[in-house]
Amino acid sequence: MLRSGPFTDERVVGLLNELFIPVYFDLSPKSPASDADAKAFVTNLKPELGGSRVPTPPVLFATADGALLGEASNYASEREMLAALRDVLRQNSKYAGPSDGEEKRPRLARARTHHYLGKDKAAIALLSEPRTAHENLFMAQIARRAGDLDKAEKILGELDSNAFADDIAVELGLIAFARGDVKTMRVRLAAHSEEGARAPEARYFLGVSLFHLGQHAEARLAWKELIGKYGEHPFSYRADWAYTQTTDDGPAAAPTSFTTQGPKSLLGRHGYMGRKNPDLARRPG
């Protein structure tokens, strides 16, 4: 579920890559992803993960010496995962220092890290004028995520509408979603080119807009085509999740517990990928 939700958020991925050492392994010794050292380390932190039938493990935040400093549920939303990552770094700041060579990174990259940490003032201060167009696009994203939608729209309006057509289409679509205006959202996202860099994201959210407009079959078709075209991709994961939670008539009855039995998703995942996809649960308008 994490891969279908919070692990598709650039802020979560950015923090994990820049300020953590992310580790994945399977507790089962028979799995190709098994790791005996990791299992010994983790079961020392959480003995309940040592049996043959275990609860769904959370993400654990730990020192290399085995001190457990925090965790986040396997079913955490993007918002919850981001908060958990930021909290554990804030409370253990000696692990949140800049990497070697930080000053050599472009200021936009450094500003992104501040943003991922929730330090938007520091990010904005770093991007003092004059700004490049890409920096202005990022400023619009900061404003959108902070809920200052008018400001985000204004910054986007000042970008080169040809050079940034696809970015503008996605950003305006997401602004419309934040406003609950799913009709405008659909129109904006449909303007994204078929082959542009953000096409999977645009197609995913186009499906979300169709879903909220009650065009459930069309929404599912958009997600299915996205998965068929892009395969393993962050927005395919999200589309896969959305597809499993819907039918052509609307939301599907949600399973109440994990099972490896029964049909798999379009990407071959087990059917239960979390209780609520926030993009579908959100009430527009």
């Binding site: 994490l2 891969r3 692990f7 598709t8 650039e10 991925v13 994990l16 890559n17 300020l19 953590f20 050492i21 992310p22 580790v23 994945y24 392994f25 399977d26 507790l27 089962s28 028979k30 799995s31 190709p32 992803a33 790791d35 050292d37 990791a38 299992k39 380390f41 983790v42 993960l49 275990v54 609860p55 769904t56 493990p57 993400v59 654990l60 935040f61 730990a62 020192t63 290399a64 010496d65 400093l69 990552l85 554990v88 770094l89 253990n92 000696k94 692990y95 220092g97 990497s99 393993e232 991709h233 962050p234 395919s236 994961y237 994990f258 490896t260 798999k264 071959g268 995942r269 087990h270």
Partner: protein, 63 residues
């Protein structure tokens, strides 16, 4: 021929090349095996973010 065989044997013994998480496209740069991740965490002054999976990752990366 001998060189190629040795190279292939070396490849098949590298856990990084066989790990199912290589199919993951989230963009997360998973560190493995664990001992390497632990060493990096010490050297770089970082915390480990560990995601254990409990139901059997398949070779297709199902998790």
């Amino acid at each position: 021929m001998l060189m190629a065989t040795i190279a292939l044997l070396s490849l098949s013994q590298d856990p990084a090349l066989e790990h199912p998480v290589h199919l993951d496209r989230t963009g997360i740069e998973w560190a493995f095996p664990f001992k390497t991740a632990q060493k990096r965490a010490r050297e770089e002054g970082r915390l480990l973010a560990i995601k254990p999976v409990a139901f059997g990752t398949t070779v297709t990366g199902c998790w």
